[in-house]
Amino acid sequence: MARAELFASSKVKTDEIQPTLQEDFVEALKLAGISIVVLLVAAFFFSAVVGPFFALGSVEETVTDVLTRLALLILPYVAYISAASVARRYTFRATSRALGLAFSCAILIYALISAGHYLLDYGVFAPRPSLQMTLSQTDAGIRIDEVAPGGAAETAGMLPGDVITAIRRDPVDLAAFNKRLGQSELDAPLRLRFLRDGEEMQETARVVLVSDKELGVLLPGLAIVLVFTAIIVFLPGHWAPYIALVGLLFPLLIGYFWVIVATFSYRTKGLVPLDGNDNFGGFTLKNWESIFAGNIAGLEFNIWPILMTSMAIAVLMTFVVLLVSSMAGYALSRMDFPGRRFFLSFTLILHGFPAITLLIPIFIVLLRMGETPIIGDLIGFNTVGGIAMVMVAFQLPLGVWLMKGFFDNIPWDMERSALIDGASRFRAYWEILLPQIRPGLLALGIFAFIGGWNAYIIPATYSIGTGLSNLPVFLNELIDETAPVDWNQVAAVGLFQLIPIFIFFIFAQEYLLNIYAGGTKGSS
């Protein structure tokens, strides 16, 4: 009964306090106002508080500057989103009301922000490099239509009717001229070549910074704002995370895209593959062919032993790391022995030890081991085994700790139960405990495999002066020993290096997803 009452009262509430348009409007503006103030305070905080603090320590830094500009950059958009979020309540119940509310708020906010920009010479009204003349493109060149009295152009002696053909010796059209001008700093000299009455002349104009404060520039901005607001109003809520994700991943995806495009083309400009005449095109398989042909710009090699070396290091490392870590983790988790605590803290310290500092001592150790009969050929200097062993050693502290943590989470009773059921200790470990920590083994295995596959410093150091090299070492050789470096070729080798990892993930994917979608359900 009490429940029914509760529902009844809440229903009455929504009916009664249906906010008026005016109240919604005020709420939307309030939200927008709050976000503006918050971001302004943030910008102020970064530039006026954090910045000087860093400056005290005489640290050269641009982070606070970037943060300040970022806050100011997103400020209007956050304001539009805040206002539109109020309108979203009505999107599907009263579309016109939603749009009206969102648009009126957006226009008002845009006006306010623009007024602010106007007064503070900021944003679209920020001063720009200018020569204070109006131009138009003609067949002969850039025609000067007007020259502002007392402006930079007039000072330089330019007259209306002059036709500009070049800056210094570089011929320009209007777009190029504007680009060049936009990149110039205050007072930079621009030597202009122009035709006056058919006669070639040249004058040097000095760039000034001018904000022209023309209100017309606001219109395209307003259009963008309205479209943006409409999108926010109609955007399905559950899309938001994906949009954020794609936005954040975008730079990364562009990078991958370039690598793939580059490997199939002679040369690229940005993301666009170009042929010899700077036109779109110029696709080729030569970057890939030369990998298998074993000759890149005169550097002779055979890719298959290199690939096998990479594979051997990665597989050996995965196998040994998994085996040793899981057994050591088990012992540390389940057994009490003298020195256990010391061992635990010591491995943690080892993990924090930078590998680089140990390169030389390990070099000596490997040299000596190489002199030992029999095992020297397996794990000495200049052997795959030696390299893998060093890599394993660096990976083990992390692995052991990780595995110990996983074993710690398995209840003792599970293992006791297995022992009582008749298992030996090893069998209980192998058949009962290891399956419980499959996600951990998989994660560590992937770490180890990728670590071994991409290893550079250790293979490079401990295989000096031999033909023995893995893919990363080879890639570096390629960059070192070819001149000029063909980056499209480098990209192809890089992508080639990724292929086994791709294959691995394609096959492991089903299994990975399975584990994280409840494959270990019921372990509690």
Binding site: P411, D413, M414, R416, S417, A418, L419, I420, D421, G422, A423, S424, R427, I432, P435, Q436, R438, T520, K521, G522, S523
Partner: protein, 360 residues
């Protein structure tokens, strides 16, 4: 299988798990270990299972000394409080695991598992994984896994404490029934005295790592040898008050403050012999509220239990817990008289906490 534990001590470094435990369990007997949590019940059980090695003492299964025998060679079955099922195996694989370890042929495994599953009523769940079962079903799987290899000894560590009350009642009956049918020597650890009283042939009451008593439920209830046992067995617990017992003209009287109670000679005599105060114990069911009575008091709290009311009556500074019919509708603050059935009264030495009536 007969189990004989002699002077068993298990220590974890400085921590004493169980100390100087001597206990002889007959073949086919159902023994409960009863005691508050932390008293060493699990430790004892795991030592019997071979998971812990005894610090001192001897454990014999039949004639064989098993102190150094590995768990897998003891032929025991154990049911854990957490069930400890293997989450990556199906119910079938869980139950079959002990047989697989024994290298039983596949077709025999299959047969035994299906038979045990049938007995446990989980025959239709064999393809599921433990994560897909309810608590009661998991319990049955755990029991099935313990039974399937036909163990000589069955160990239970609080197997029912994760179940709801109704299920606990059913499983209690089922476990007892199974044990009697199969005749497997069983040890059942619990902190719930009702479970111990209803299921066990004999109960070993433990406290602080030591054995307090080892006897049938009736003996423990009627003739508790220590104050701890008297207080731990029975629900609600026995009332204890300090009294002086004296004799005049062949009549024995227990006195404290204004309270005076007549004690039958058989029980009064040993108490009167003890110099100074003794602890008197009276079970709630031996106290009744009456219109007329030896002692007058005031009702402090009434706790309805459904079938009965649990009533706390204060007499001076003493408090008596008793049970009364709900229909009498007593209320807190009411003044009442108490009548005592002194034929079941117990007396204990306040120093040693041993019974003055029943000597070991």
């Amino acid at each position: 299988m007969e189990i004989r534990i002699d002077n068993l001590t298990k220590k974890f470094g400085e921590v004493v798990g169980v100390e100087d435990l001597t206990l002889h369990i007959d073949d086919g007997e159902f023994v409960a270990f009863l005691g508050p949590s932390g008293c060493g019940k699990t430790t004892t059980l795991l030592t019997l299972a071979g998971i812990y090695k005894p610090t001192e003492g001897l454990i014999r299964f039949g004639e064989r000394i098993v102190n150094q025998v590995q768990p897998k060679d003891r032929n025991i079955g154990m049911v854990f409080q957490s069930y400890a099922l293997y989450p990556h195996m199906t119910v079938f694989q869980n139950i079959a695991y002990p047989l697989k370890l024994k290298k039983t042929p596949k077709n025999l495994q299959n047969e035994s598992v299906r038979q045990v599953a049938g007995v446990m009523g989980i025959g239709d769940l064999l393809d599921r994984r433990p994560g897909q079962l309810s608590g009661g079903q998991q319990q049955r799987v755990a029991l099935g896994r313990a039974l399937v290899k036909e163990p000589d000894v069955l160990l239970f560590d609080e197997p029912l404490s994760n179940l709801d009350a109704r299920l606990r009642l059913t499983m209690r009956g089922e476990i007892k029934h199974l044990q009697k049918n199969l005749g497997i020597t069983s040890i059942y650890v619990t902190h719930d005295q009702v479970e111990a009283m209803t299921m066990a042939d004999r109960i070993a009451v433990m406290s602080g790592g030591r054995l307090q008593a080892f006897d049938t439920p009736e003996e423990l209830y009627d003739r508790p040898k220590t104050q701890f046992v008297a207080g731990f067995v029975g629900n609600p617990p026995m009332n204890f008050i300090d009294v002086n017992v004296s004799q005049s003209d062949g009549a024995y009287t227990a006195k404290t403050g204004s309270i005076r109670m007549t004690v039958p000679a058989a029980r009064g005599a040993p108490a009167a012999e003890h110099a100074g105060a003794v602890v008197m114990g009276l079970r709630p069911e031996d106290i009744a509220i009456a219109s007329e009575g030896e002692v007058a008091g005031e009702i402090f709290v009434v706790e309805p239990l459904g079938r009965e009311d649990l009533i706390d009556v204060r007499v001076g500074e003493h408090s008596f817990i008793l049970l009364a019919n709900t229909e009498s509708r007593h209320r807190a603050g009411e003044r009442v008289a108490l009548q005592f059935d002194m034929s079941q009264v117990q007396f204990f030495d306040p120093q040693s906490e041993r019974s003055l009536l029943w000597r070991q």
